[in-house]
Amino acid sequence: MRQAEAHSSASRFWAGRRLAAGGAQAAVLAAAALVVWFAASNAAANLGRLGINTGFGFLGRPAGFAISQHLVDYSESSTYLRALEVAVLNTVVLALVAIVGATVIGFALGFARRSSNGLMRAVAAGYVELLRNVPLLLQLFFWYFAILRPLPPPRQSLSLLGAIFLNGRGLVLPRPEAAEGFGLVIAALGIGAVLAAAMACWLRRRRARLGRAPSPWVAAALPLIAMPALAAVIAGPPVAWDLPRLRGFNFEGGLVVLPEFVAMAVALSLYSAAYIAEIVRAGIDAVSRGQVEAARALGLRPATINAKIVVPQALRVIVPPLGNEYLRLFRNTTLAAAIGYPDLTLIFAGTAVNQTAQAVEVMLIVCGCYLAINLAVSAGINGYNRRIGRSYR
């Protein structure tokens, strides 16, 4: 009897809690719906008053503006959809180039911060503290307006080996083009890769059985280099370099990289490298001291200790925050709008909004693109984290 009473009072209590919880959630939903309705009705009224079109029909219409850098065919008569493709590609290419640069510099700095040389450590720490604490936009403007733009005109370019030129209009590189040997060399590379994999497999097994055999890496690299080299000798070079030549007041041929791209890539690489250096340093610190001491006691050389003991273990700690740093770099590419590099933000949130006046639709597209790429990459990072976590437990 008493038990039943207690039970009913408990269930009444929980029913009350559930009711309150349900009420609170319903209230939040209702408030959100009210805000959305308020915003939507205002938007409808404002758009009607200003006579702005709605819908995504504009994507099929010609864009009518030129874009200074396009990796796929694009002209002023191309559609907005094509312009979107160009803009997304520009953003992605910039992010990829900057990620490579930032990773190389960042890892070098991270190891320099744990160098055995005290002066080296101090210099690396100085770099990190200097670059991290100055706004990226300021650094970007510095590279663009104070360094690159004041460079001399093409006729007085700074030149490296007579093939790479840097001037006020950008960076001119030799352009690789497929030559007659291209197909055969690529085929030889494929066969070489298969051979190398088989050989590495065999050598590793032999090494495990006999305890001695040439290092699988060195032996496996042989076919990978020898096969394409042989093919190149037979069929001719795979790639012809279109060298830039000075004609009149400008360069002809070659690959011209916009100064805006150079400034963005340099500023993003150097800035993110400071953060990556800290991530790498934390990763090195996470490898317990005993590991290094044990390796030293075994008589391994410092370089071997780094490559075989420290780096593999540090990478597990480094990779997750490194992924987040790449995402941050990707989000920072939007600063391109400040110096006029034609990325997604400048072309769409800037030019397209001004031309179509359809701010709502265009901004939905822009934010959707950034959000989609961001969420996809962070889902990948989370998946990796889960896998690492499982394998450790």
Binding site: A24, V28, L47, L137, I305, L335, A337, A349, N374
Partner: protein, 363 residues
């Protein structure tokens, strides 16, 4: 570079000794030291030479034209724009009052001796934004109205940074608490808000605030560009703060919740009296890092045409007069702007590191 190789160092006993030994411990290290020392020996004196020795301090603009050093005349000539933007000259004492209050508040919060910092901080978050708005905007008795379109320079940077900080702290706390809620609808809202705001970069968010936000408000509402930017900043950094708060809340052991419950504390009282005081101590370094990020982010407003501290310097450089006077002014402008931002951000990040160390030691 021989990393992690530490040949047995002689017992010099001092940190200086260990440092000096590490520079020459092996031939490779000695060579590296020599190269770095030569580089530093060349660059540092030439920087000092440029910034101080050969610099032009006084005189007319033309003195800078053939200068081999910094042109501090440029900074002096643009000083009032750099500090106050287009704020009316007669009203600038109000900005000076703001600068004074910011310095006092900063000194109070960063000093090691002052007590009740939480209370001071809370007071600043609640009282400072409306008080600053009244002070700078005016429009009340005795204070002339100064529209935000006339704001600029360091004053705009301080106002925007302060409002963003004061607004994003409570926003972030509420979002983080909602994210831990048992109620799926509330948790879902918080997760979507945080992930969306962290996934969209700041620049598109500013464009969104500039072009779309006015469309969502009733016709006739006139929100100034600075207000729109402030909304975007508060939301964007609120999401960043929410993630910091979340980390702090996760760090509180479960036993604390259970102990509070067994003492008969209600859920809100548990949060306010037991959990939050501990969590805030843990997250303060992280919050300061967001504050550093806010200081750096304020420069982005130049993209949508606001004149903050950095953009006022750029505006000075773009002035045809100074444009004609060669490189010295250009270099000095960037050097000065970088130095100011660096000093503020480096100072804040040092404080953050100090607090983190103190929290770690406490256990």
């Amino acid at each position: 570079m021989s990393v992690l190789a530490a040949p047995s160092a002689p017992r010099l006993g001092t940190r200086v000794g260990a440092f000096l030994w590490s520079c020459v411990s092996s031939p490779a290290n000695a060579a590296m030291t020599l190269a770095l020392a030569l580089l530093a020996g060349y660059w540092l004196p030439s920087l000092v030479d440029w910034a101080l020795v050969r610099a032009r301090w006084i005189g007319p603009r033309t003195v800078c034209e053939d200068a081999a050093g910094a042109c501090w005349i440029f900074i002096r000539a643009r000083w009032s724009q750099i500090l106050y933007g287009a704020y009316p000259e007669a009203e600038r004492w109000r900005v000076d009052v703001l600068f004074g209050l910011v310095l006092i508040a900063g000194a109070l919060l960063l000093s090691r001796r002052v007590q009740y910092k939480g209370l001071i901080g809370l007071l600043l978050i609640v009282v400072a934004p409306p008080a600053t708005a009244v002070l700078l905007l005016g429009g009340v008795d005795g204070l002339a109205y100064v529209p935000t379109t006339q704001w600029g320079g360091l004053m705009l940077t301080v106002a925007l940074g302060g409002v963003s900080l004061a607004g994003s702290l409570p926003t972030g706390l509420v979002l983080a608490l909602c994210r831990r809620s048992d109620l799926p609808v509330i948790r879902g809202f918080a997760v979507v808000m945080i992930e969306v705001l962290r996934g969209i970069p700041l620049v598109p968010l500013l464009f969104l605030a500039m072009s779309v936000l006015p469309l969502l408000l009733p016709p006739g509402t006139d929100l100034s560009p600075l207000m729109r930017v402030a909304v975007a900043f508060i939301l964007f950094n609120g999401a960043a703060m929410a993630e910091v708060f979340r980390g702090g809340l996760q760090a509180i052991p479960k036993g604390q919740f259970e102990a509070a419950r067994s003492l008969g504390l209600s859920a809100p009282r548990t949060m306010a009296l037991v959990i939050l005081p501990q969590a805030i101590a843990i997250v303060t370094p992280g919050l300061l890092n967001v504050a550093v990020a806010i200081v750096k982010e304020t420069t982005v407003v130049l993209i949508i045409g606001l004149y903050d501290f950095f953009n006022e310097i750029l505006a000075g450089l773009a002035d045809p007069q100074w444009l004609a006077s060669g490189r010295a002014a250009l270099d000095t402008g960037y050097f000065f702007a970088g130095l100011v931002y660096w000093a503020v951000c480096f100072g804040l990040s040092r404080v953050s590191a100090r607090l983190e160390l103190a929290t770690e030691r406490r256990g």
